[in-house]
Every structure is written in C-alpha cells, then in structure tokens.
C-alpha cells in the first residue's frame, strides 16, 4: 500500500499523527487493538477502505 503510493513510513506517521514505534507495532502485527480514529486516519491518508488494511488469518 505504501509502495504503491510512494510513501515512506516516516511520512505516513507524520500525516496520520502516530509515533514510529506505534506504526512499527502495527506493521509487524504485534498490535492487540487499533483505535477507530487511528484506522480512520490511516484510511484518509492512504485513501483506502479499512478492508484494504485489515485481513483475517487463522
């Protein structure tokens, strides 16, 4: 998603308003939960739907 938009993690963290460490937690799948406002901000910045960012795995 980031590569397609030619956006770096630093740029994303600045635009979304979350720290790099939290972005790393999200990216590595260590996050236990995500706030709706964070998801909303990510979708707004990346111009996508929540389903594009989340997927279910067993």
């Amino acid at each position: 998603m980031l590569a397609r938009r030619k956006m770096s993690l630093t740029e994303l963290s600045e635009k979304v308003g979350i720290t790099m460490s939290n972005l790393s937690i999200l990216k590595t799948g260590k996050a236990k939960a995500i706030r709706l406002e964070t998801l909303e901000a990510l979708c707004r910045v990346l111009n996508c739907q929540p389903g594009d960012l989340l997927d279910y795995r067993e």
Binding site: L26, K30, A31
Partner: protein, 207 residues
C-alpha cells in the same frame, strides 16, 4: 500526601529496616559462634534468642484470685501456669533453636530486600510490570513458608519439651496462622496485579 512521597517514605523505611536486620543477623551470627566455641551452658551472651514462653497443661495451680484496680475499671489475674523455658545454647537443641532464629532472620532480610526491589521498580505512570508480579509472589511464598516452619517447630519443640519434662505438660506459646493469611492475601493481590499487567500490555499495544 502524594503517592510519590508515600513511596519515598516506604523506600527509606525498608532501607533502614533492611540494614538494621542485616546488622542484627550479623550480631546474632557472631554470638552464636561464641556460644558454640565457648561451649558453656546458660552463661554466654545469646541475644535472648533461646527464651521461650510456654504454658503448662498439667499444672493444677491454674490461676489465682482476680484483683481489681482502684476504680474497678480493670481487673487482672496472675497466671501461674506460664513459664519461661531457656534452652541450653550449647546443646543440640540449642543449636537447633539458633539455626531456626537464623533462618527467620534470613527470611526477614529476603522479605525486606524484595520490598526494596518492588519499591524501586514501581513507576506511577506504568505501575504494572511482570517483575513486580514475580517479586510479590516471592513475598507471598516467604510468608507461607515462615508459618509452615512455625508449625513444624511447634511440633518439634513440644516433642522436645515432653521428652525433657513429661510431667509438666509444657506447650510452646506460638501464634500460627497470620503468615498463612498474609501469604494468601498477597497471592490474591498478585492475581489481580497480574490482570493489571495484561491490561497494561494490551493498552500499550493499542495503536
């Protein structure tokens, strides 16, 4: 009083208590060595470690008459079946009592050391940590172990008293149970605290 101030006060108190107990243990160790080396019976300095209060259950004298204070607000009674038993410090049982006191002192040092570590670890911004859970478990275990030793000692001591003076029916005066209760309560606190650690971890990993 702010929580940080309370923690600081406790830190100071546990540090003083810890070093005081270390000093007492060292002194007790030295006195015990003197006892063993001098091989004298009741005349060596012992820090009064081997004086024990016992009750005689075969003493028929029981209690004397009840007396009243001048304004009749208080009454008192002299108990005649209570005795102080002193163990010969240079006997095998004397060594046992020394060892037991030493074990209790070591448990006390360990508990205070653990409390110091807990107080050092506490951060009010993020109070729940796995390390504190582990340290609290140690504290709970020490309280339970100390009372368990007390129960074993109660049995051994009474057996010894019965062997030495079977006619008087001596029984050691000992408060048993408080350690088990404190240990159990601490264990419950540990379980709650552990849940706190899980919630804090979840909160930290919520983005």
């Amino acid at each position: 009083m702010k929580p940080t101030h309370i923690i600081t006060v406790f830190k100071v108190l546990t540090t003083i208590g810890f070093y005081f107990l270390l000093f007492i243990t060292a002194a007790f160790f030295v006195f015990s060595l003197i006892n063993i080396a001098s091989n004298q019976s009741f005349n060596t300095p012992t820090l009064k470690n081997n004086n024990y209060k016992v009750i005689s259950f075969s003493d028929n004298k029981g209690t004397t008459e009840v007396k009243y204070s001048d304004n009749k607000q208080l009454r008192y009674q002299l108990l005649q079946n209570e005795y102080y038993v002193q163990i010969n410090p240079s006997s095998p049982f004397g060594y046992y009592t020394m060892l037991l006191t030493f074990v209790y002192l070591l448990l006390g040092i360990f508990t205070l050391r653990t409390f110091r570590k807990i107080l050092k670890e506490i951060q009010l911004e993020a109070p729940f940590t796995g390390k504190i859970v582990r340290l609290l478990k140690y504290v709970a275990a020490v309280f339970i172990i100390a009372d368990f030793i007390k129960v074993i000692n109660y049995i051994i001591f009474n057996q010894y008293l019965h062997q030495q003076m079977p006619t008087l029916g001596f029984k050691l005066q000992s408060e048993i149970g408080s350690g088990f209760i404190i240990g159990a309560i601490t264990w419950i606190i540990v379980a709650i605290y552990q849940r706190g650690v899980e919630l804090q971890t979840e909160n930290n990993l919520t983005v």
